[in-house]
C-alpha cells in the first residue's frame, strides 16, 4: 500500500515535462500555421502591389563610357567571387532589341537620378525610358517644360483625338526617336514626382490592371477579362451545383430508406470529393464537350460544321465540370445540416398537420439553410482556385470575346473564357518576357486570393444574416 503510493508519486518523471509541454506544442503549431499564412499574404501584397509603384529611374555610366537609363531590379552575386551583377529594366526594345540588361557593379562609374528622365508606356514595343525633347502637333511644336505640359494635356484626351501628335524623344545615350502619341498609354517622370503624385499614379496603374485587357501575350496590361471569366464561371457553377446538391442531400437524408445501399451511396459521395480534379476535367472533355456538345452541334449547328460551336471547350462545359467536382462538398455539408435538425422539430410540424413536403419546405430547409450555404462557400472556394480541369474544358489563354456582351443572347455559354488561375500559369511560364511577368504573377495571385475571399465573405455574411433572422444559433 505504502510502496504503491510512493510509486504513483515517483512514477515515470519523464512524462512530467510532456504534460506541461503539450499545450505549448499545440500553440506552436497554430503559431507556425499563422506565420506561414501571413508570410504568404505579405509576399503577395508587397510583390503584387509594389509593382505598380512608380519606380525610381537611374542614369548609369559604365567604365566603357556607355550611358543608359533604367530601373534597378535586383542584384545577384556572380560565381567565383567576381563581384555582383545588377539587373536593370531599360525598356526601349525598338532601339536596343532587348529590355533587360545585366551590368557588373564594378563596371559602373556613375549613377544618378535626373528628374527629367521619362518613362512611357507604349504598345507595341513596351516601355520607353529616356528624355522628352519636343511634342509636335499639326505643325506646332512645344519644347522643354511646355512639351511635358502639352504631353499630359494630350494624354488626358481619348486616343482617337491624338492621332496627329508625335513625340520627339532621345535615349540616355543620345539616340533620337519619333514616337506617335497614339501608341502611348501613359507617361511618368518618376524621379520628379512627390509621394502623393506617386500614390495617384499607383492607384491609376492598379485600376488599369484591374479594368483593362491583357497585352503583349499576357505579359503586360490588365486582367479584367480573367476576373470577369472567373467570377462568372463560379457563379454559374454555384447556380448549377446548389439545387442538385441540396436535392440529392434531401433524398439521402430524408427520403431514402436508411439501409446498406444508402450508406454505400453516402460513402461513395464522400469519396468523390477526393478524386483528382484533372480526372473531372477528362470526364468533362469526354462527356460534356465531345459527347453532349458534339451532339448539340450535329442537331442544331450543322450549318457551321466542321467548326464547332458547343463541341469545343466553353463556359457552360467548364461550369458543369466544376459543378460536378464540387457536388460532393455541397451534398456532404447539406446532409450534415439536415442531420443536425432535431427530430422534435419534424414531429412538431407533422403533428400540426403538415405534410412531409410542408415539413421539409417550412421547417427543415430553412433550418438547414446555413449548412447549405457552408457547402456553397466550400464549393466556391474550391472552384475559384481550380485550374487543371479548366484547361481541358474551356479556358483560353486569350479570349477574343467576353462571355457576356450586348449581342443576343447576351450570355454566350459556348464561348471560351479567361480565368485568373490559368492566366497566372500562362503569365508565369508561357510569356516571352519572364522577367516582366514576375510582378504580374504576384499581382494576379493576390487578386485570385482576394476574389475567393470576397466570394466567401459574401456567403458568410448571408449565412450570418439567415441565422440572425431566426434570432438564435442552431
Amino acid at each position: 500500500m505504502n510502496s504503491g503510493a510512493a510509486n504513483t508519486v515517483s512514477r515515470s518523471p519523464r512524462f512530467h515535462w510532456l504534460n506541461n509541454l503539450w499545450p505549448w506544442l499545440c500553440a506552436a503549431s497554430v503559431a507556425l500555421s499563422l506565420l506561414m499564412l501571413s508570410a504568404l499574404l505579405v509576399l503577395l501584397l508587397v510583390r503584387g502591389l509594389g509593382h505598380f509603384w512608380p519606380a525610381t529611374l537611374e542614369e548609369v555610366t559604365l567604365s566603357s563610357g556607355e550611358t543608359f537609363a533604367g530601373e534597378a531590379i535586383r542584384e545577384v552575386a556572380l560565381p567565383q567571387q567576381e563581384g555582383d551583377e545588377r539587373l536593370y529594366f531599360t525598356g526601349n526594345q525598338d532601339i536596343d532589341g532587348v529590355r533587360w540588361r545585366w551590368v557588373a557593379i564594378d563596371d559602373i562609374v556613375e549613377r544618378s537620378q535626373p528628374n527629367d528622365l521619362i518613362r512611357l508606356e507604349r504598345s507595341p514595343w513596351g516601355d520607353f525610358i529616356g528624355r522628352l525633347v519636343a511634342v509636335e502637333q499639326a505643325g506646332q511644336r512645344w519644347e522643354g517644360e511646355a512639351a511635358w505640359q502639352r504631353l499630359t494635356t494630350l494624354l488626358a484626351l481619348p486616343a482617337s483625338q491624338r492621332q496627329e501628335s508625335q513625340l520627339l524623344l532621345t535615349t540616355a545615350n543620345g539616340q533620337a526617336l519619333r514616337q506617335p502619341l497614339a501608341n502611348v498609354a501613359s507617361a511618368q517622370t518618376p524621379n520628379a514626382m512627390a509621394w502623393w503624385q506617386k500614390t495617384h499614379a499607383w492607384g491609376d496603374s492598379v485600376w488599369r490592371f484591374l479594368s483593362e485587357g491583357p497585352r503583349a501575350a499576357n505579359t503586360h496590361g490588365g486582367v479584367w477579362p480573367a476576373i470577369f471569366g472567373t467570377v462568372l464561371m463560379v457563379i454559374l457553377m454555384s447556380v448549377i451545383v446548389t439545387p442538385f446538391g441540396v436535392l440529392a442531400a434531401i433524398y439521402l437524408n430524408e427520403i431514402a430508406h436508411q439501409g446498406r445501399l444508402t450508406r454505400l451511396v453516402r460513402i461513395g459521395v464522400r469519396n468523390l470529393a477526393g478524386v483528382p480534379s484533372i480526372v473531372y476535367g477528362v470526364f468533362g472533355l469526354g462527356v460534356f464537350v465531345y459527347g453532349v456538345g458534339g451532339s448539340l452541334d450535329e442537331w442544331f449547328f450543322s450549318d457551321t460544321l466542321p467548326s464547332p460551336t458547343f463541341g469545343t471547350g466553353g463556359l457552360l462545359w467548364a461550369s458543369l465540370t466544376l459543378a460536378l467536382l464540387t457536388l460532393p462538398v455541397v451534398i456532404v455539408a447539406t446532409e450534415e445540416g439536415l442531420a443536425r435538425i432535431p427530430e422534435a422539430q419534424r414531429e412538431g410540424a407533422v403533428a400540426l398537420g403538415a405534410t412531409r413536403l410542408e415539413m421539409l419546405t417550412r421547417i427543415v430547409l430553412p433550418m438547414a439553410a446555413p449548412a447549405m450555404l457552408t457547402g456553397v462557400i466550400l464549393a466556391v472556394a474550391r472552384a475559384a482556385g481550380e485550374v487543371a480541369p479548366l484547361m481541358l474544358v474551356g479556358v483560353a489563354k486569350l479570349a477574343p470575346q467576353m462571355p457576356i456582351d450586348g449581342e443576343f443572347p447576351y450570355l454566350h455559354l459556348e464561348r471560351k473564357f479567361m480565368h485568373l488561375g490559368y492566366h497566372l500559369f500562362d503569365t508565369a511560364f508561357h510569356g516571352e518576357d519572364v522577367q516582366a511577368a514576375i510582378p504580374l504573377v504576384y499581382a494576379t495571385a493576390l487578386l485570385l486570393v482576394l476574389i475567393v475571399v470576397v466570394l466567401n465573405l459574401t456567403a458568410i455574411f448571408l449565412r450570418h444574416y439567415l441565422r440572425r433572422q431566426r434570432g438564435n444559433e442552431c
Partner: protein, 271 residues
Amino acid sequence: MLASSHSVNTSQAPVTHFSSEHSCLSIDHLSLAYAGKEALRDLTLSVPRHRVTAFIGPSGCGKSTLLRAINRLHDLNESVTHSGNIMLEGQDIHDPQTNVTELRRRVGMVFQTPNPFPMSIYENVAFGLRLQQRLPKRKRDDIIEWALTSAALWDEVKDRLHRSAWQLSGGQQQRLVIARTLAVQPDVLLLDEPASALDPISTLKIEELIRNLKSELTLVLVTHNMQQAARVSDYTAFLHQGELVEYGPTDQVFTNPRLQHTENYITGRIT
C-alpha cells in the same frame, strides 16, 4: 408477481366503457410493434370527451407509444406495424379514407421537450393556420390572440410577438407549443409528459392550463408523475409492459385500486 397480475387483468377485463355520446376516442384491440418487437399488446380502452385522461406506468410500458399511435406519428417510421383499431369520434383513423393531415389537425400533440420552431412567436402560432387555409390577417391575428390567451401566455408575450420563440423560457415555450396546437382548433390534445422538463412553477401553470382546457377539448396526458396524474386527470389508465393493467376514474384508481399491481406501482413499491 407480475405474471399473476397479468392473468388477473385479462380475466377481469377492467376496462371502463363509455356510451358513444360520451366517448371521444376508442381504442380496440390495438397491438403495435417496432421492427417486430412488441410495444403494445391487445389494448382496449375508451377516452371520454371533455375530460383529462392520464396514462401512467413505468418507463417503456408503452404509454408514449400509445399516444403517438393516436396521432399516427408512427407513420414516419416504416418499421412500425400495428393491428387493431383506433376510432376518433366513430371514425377509424387508419381507414384509407382518413386524411392523415386532417387527423393530425384534429388530434394535437405536445411533446416532452418544448419544440418551438425557429421563428417568431407569432409565426409559431400561425404555422398550423397557414397550413390549413389563407385567412385575412385580422382573422388570423384574432385566432392567434385567442390561442395564446387560452394557453395563458398572451399577457407575457403580447409585446414581443415578433421576437424569436427560442428566447422564451422553457415553461413559456411549452405553453407556446400548446397555443400553437390550440390555434388549429383540435378536438383532442395529446400531452406527452409536457412538464417533465420544466421547473415546479412552470409545471403548476401547465397543470392549471390542462384543467382549464378540458371545457374546450378532450385531453390525454402521459406522465411519470403520480401526483400530477392525481391532480389533473379525471380518468387514469395504468399500463405495464405494453398491456393495460387498470383503467378507471382517477379517484378510484388512486384510492381504491382493484389490482394489487396497480397499488404497488402507485405507492412506489415497484417502478
